[in-house]
Structures are given as C-alpha cells and as structure tokens.
Symmetry: C2
Subunit: 223 residues, 2 copies
Amino acid sequence: MPTNQKLRTERLAAGHNSEDLPHLKHVGRRERRAAETRLRLFRCAIQLFSERGFPNVTVEDITEAADVGKGTFFNYFESKDHVLGVLAEIQLGKVQEAVAEAEAAKRSIESVLQQVFLKVAEEPGGSPRMARALISAFVSSERSTDIMAENMAKGRRLITRAIEIGQKRKEIDPRLKKERVALQLQQTFLGTLLMWSLTGEPKLQDMVESSFQLFWRSIAVRD
Amino acid sequence: MPTNQKLRTERLAAGHNSEDLPHLKHVGRRERRAAETRLRLFRCAIQLFSERGFPNVTVEDITEAADVGKGTFFNYFESKDHVLGVLAEIQLGKVQEAVAEAEAAKRSIESVLQQVFLKVAEEPGGSPRMARALISAFVSSERSTDIMAENMAKGRRLITRAIEIGQKRKEIDPRLKKERVALQLQQTFLGTLLMWSLTGEPKLQDMVESSFQLFWRSIAVRD
C-alpha cells in the first residue's frame, strides 16, 4: 500500500473526512474507497477484539462484521495481527504532526509533547475494555509484538527529534540523553494506559495529563 | 489461607528456603508442604502461560505439570485467574519490606524506592515472553483484571506511606500529592516492564534502573 494512502487512512481515522482536507479532493474515488474499507476492517476488528479477546476473533468474524468478502481482508492485511499496524500508523501520524509543530516553533515543546500524550490516548481510550484488548493483542503473538516494537521504535525516533529541539531551546535539560527521555515518555504513556485500563478511573485524559505534568518535571530545565 | 502462610510463600518464592529463615524452623511440616505445593502450582502455571498463552492453559495442564491431582488445585485457588494472585502477594511482600525499611530510617527513601523497582522486576523479568504472558494474563479476563487492580491499590497505599516519609525527611518535594507520586511510580514501572517485554533489550534491570533515576528527578527536592 503506497504511503500516501496510509496517510489518508490516518487522517480519516483521526476523524477527518475528505471535505476537511482539501488535498484529498483530488484523490480518486477508488483509492478513497480502499482507504475507507481498510479503516472499516480495522474498526470492526478492534471492536471484536474488545468484545471477545484477540485470540477468539477470526478473520471471518472481522469480514462478516465489516460486511466484506473474506478475500477482501487479505487485499489489505497479511494477517489478523497486521490489523494492529493500522493503530500504529494512526499513532505515528499524530506523533509526526507534533514533531512538525515542534519544528515550526509555534508552540513550546512542553505543550507539543503534552498534546501528543492526549492525542495518542484518544484511540485506545475508548473504554478500559478496549484498552485491555489492545494491550493484550499486542503482547499475545510474536508477530503483533514485533509490529508494536517496530512502531514504538519509529515513534521514539520522532520524539527524540522533538526532545532535541526542546534541548536547543533550553526548555529541556540538555544534560539528559535525548533517546532516554523519548523512551521514558513512551514508557510513562504505556504505564498510564495500562493502569487506567484496569479500572477506567479516573478519566484517561485526566490521568494522562497529570502523568505528563509529573513526567515533565523530570526533564524540564530548572530555574 | 492464613496470612503467615502467605508470608512464607512469598519468602520461599523469593528464593529463600526454611534454612535461611530461622522463624520457619518452627513451622509444621504440613504447613510448609502446603506453601510449597501452592508455590509449585504458581510456578508451573506461569511457565505454561508463557509457553502457550493464558487463555490456552487449563487447570488440568497446570496440575499435570505440577504433578498433583486436579482437586488439589482447588484447595489452593478458586480459579486459574487466582493463580495470578500469588504474583501479587510476592510483589506486595517486597513493597511491604521496603516500606518497613523506610520506616526504620536506615536508608534514604531514594535508595529504598529504587530497590523496590529492582526487586519487583525480578519476578516478571525472567524473560520477555514471560513478562508478556503475565501482562496479557492480567488484562485478559475481568477476574484477573480485578485481582491486579486490587493489588495495585494495596501496593499504592504502601508506597504512599514511603512517599510521605520521604516528604517529611525533605527528600521528596512536599508540595506533590503523595498518592499521585505513588501512582506515577507504579505507572513508570508498568510502562518500563511493558516496553521491555517487546524486545527484551536492554536488560530489564538496567532499564528499570534508568527509568527510576529519571522518575526520581521529577519528585526529588531541588537544591
């Protein structure tokens, strides 16, 4: 699947449609349909994972829920595990946007990173059950673990750039190793999500926000 | 199961035997046997979870691996999920010891908390696969999620006491809400464990140590 189509999938998944995004107006109907089908398969799949648990969902269950033929599934995904890659794409798209904002220097790095935390929480934060299903899916097969590890590494490289910018601008302590800070940011996010998924209390957005604030104290330049 | 028997289970699980622990010499053979059987069932269970995945392991698989009758299992555990409670007990025992050390004021709170991080990593840190199996097991049924949530809350109450001591001793910033700091400590640990479980690189003990060091910067009193 070409990269520009992936990008469209992310934007669609982020709640935009082609009307919001002028550059999508020039995209052919067939390509747009393909992106929509792929996203529909993803949405149906994660809904089923959350209801029945990842191991108990078959490709047939997904295609039935999405109302497409079984063959259609394999036009978009190599396997059930690969559906999880869509989530990774959506999340990476958000991180990428944030890093672009950091580079554009319109907002403080603190606000850019806090925004990433909140935005990345949207997708798995639909319900605690959904969050648990996604976490469980990512750790329940070698293949999906590899997909998550690879995408976490990509995300980390992007965040490392934002951290570097923050260090140059004297927002973030320049003595800290930027890769380590990026790793800690991801770990703090994952830990918050996992903890929230156990009870669903308090609201994920609130938990994520206060986790970020405390995390920021560990890396901010001290007055 | 009486609390003193639980305590013994923890100590045995931590790699001690009754020879190391003089107070266990006075424990009857039957009680000691019971604690050993319970621990053996736990060890066999988590080994099987790690090999086959939590949902694919039956009580019969566990009793067969532990070489006991199926009925014996239910003398110790209500269900397969309850086996995970043993892990929670082991971990809580470690946190409890640390808080006792904090109260005894022999070491700095920083060193006490760092030690907890390292000790709690021992059990799930056998292999990345084992860590993934345990995380997956804890989020894959309502019952095991409840067990984890309950024990996390217990652990958090213990850690909150240690944080409070740290604030009184002016090691930890007294303006921070102690419960929030305890929650962040747990989240940082869980996130580190989850991230490590994806690749197993670098060594968990190293990852946990540098995660703790960065975390500590967020709560330490500033000079």
